[in-house]
């Protein structure tokens, strides 16, 4: 499999599958109007506050994504979700897409669980990051690598 050629965005698309979004990668993409690097996105979200890697943030992504256009992401943060102590926001980011942001989810105690799931596009192999803001203003993080292969050329 000419995997590296895929990452250079050469590969064609099968009749039904969605195009592998290699154009999303920061270094290859023309500047989209929402382009923002991972570091800049984290800064914008945290205001420069410290972020702690935490086991309380369970991030589930596939180790290998056959199709970079549809990568399932699940985030579950251990939290009582009471008024006094709850997850305020879950931010899903990627480290190498031209726009590092995927979704910002503002939760409330009525959610009952600090949980969010979605499917994202990854332009190539990179990390998916769950950046979590707690009600006490602290920030937690979990990151996992996803290898993006596009199954079969043409």
């Amino acid at each position: 499999m000419k995997r590296r050629n895929f990452l250079k965005g050469i590969c064609a698309v099968s009749a039904v599958a969605v195009t592998a979004p290699s154009a999303l990668l920061a270094k290859e993409a023309p500047k989209g109007e929402n382009a923002l690097t991972y570091d800049a996105a984290v800064s914008a979200i945290t205001g420069g506050k410290a972020v702690a890697d935490s086991d309380k943030v369970k991030l589930t992504v596939p180790e290998i994504a056959e199709n970079g256009a549809v990568v399932p992401v699940k985030v579950h943060v251990e939290s009582p979700m009471t008024d006094a102590e709850h997850v305020k926001a879950i931010h899903v980011l990627s480290t190498k897409n031209g726009n590092a942001r995927c979704a910002d989810v503002m939760l409330t105690p009525l959610n009952g669980k600090g949980y969010f799931a979605t499917r994202v596009k990854l332009g190539g192999t990179q990390d998916v990051v769950a950046l979590v803001e707690m009600s006490d203003g602290s920030f937690l993080r979990a990151a996992k690598p996803v290898k993006v292969t596009i199954g079969g050329c043409g």
Binding site: S94, M106, R119
Partner: protein, 112 residues
């Protein structure tokens, strides 16, 4: 005039009681174009066209809001939880970057 979008709200499990924490899934048909791809037929870049904001409400009161970017997959799927307080109506209001607004509702009917 904007065409009405197909979307679906699903509760998991389907049968639940007051006090249970259930999953609320929302799926909508939308291209989520990034603005970085060319239309194969015309050779023109397809403009960015993606859902950028979603609000989940119960009887008109928001309990989850989302800011969504073009990096979310086409025909997007979103899932959050809800601790069921009683009977009510769940509404998902969503807008996209062209200003198109849509809404989907589903009755919340706990048993017991």
């Amino acid at each position: 005039m904007a065409e009405a979008r197909k979307s679906m709200i699903k509760f998991k499990p389907k049968k639940f009681k007051v006090g249970d924490t259930i999953k609320v899934d929302f799926i909508v048909i939308h291209p989520m174009d990034t603005g970085l791809k060319k239309d194969k037929k015309t050779g023109e870049v397809k403009p960015a066209h993606f859902i950028d904001s979603i609000t989940f409400s119960l009887d008109g009161k928001p309990f989850t809001t989302m800011k969504v970017w073009e990096t979310v997959s086409t025909n997007p799927y979103f899932s959050v939880n809800l601790k069921v307080p009683g009977k009510g109506k769940i509404t998902v209001d969503y807008t996209d970057n062209t200003g198109e607004k849509n809404s989907k509702s589903k009755k919340l009917k706990p048993k017991g």
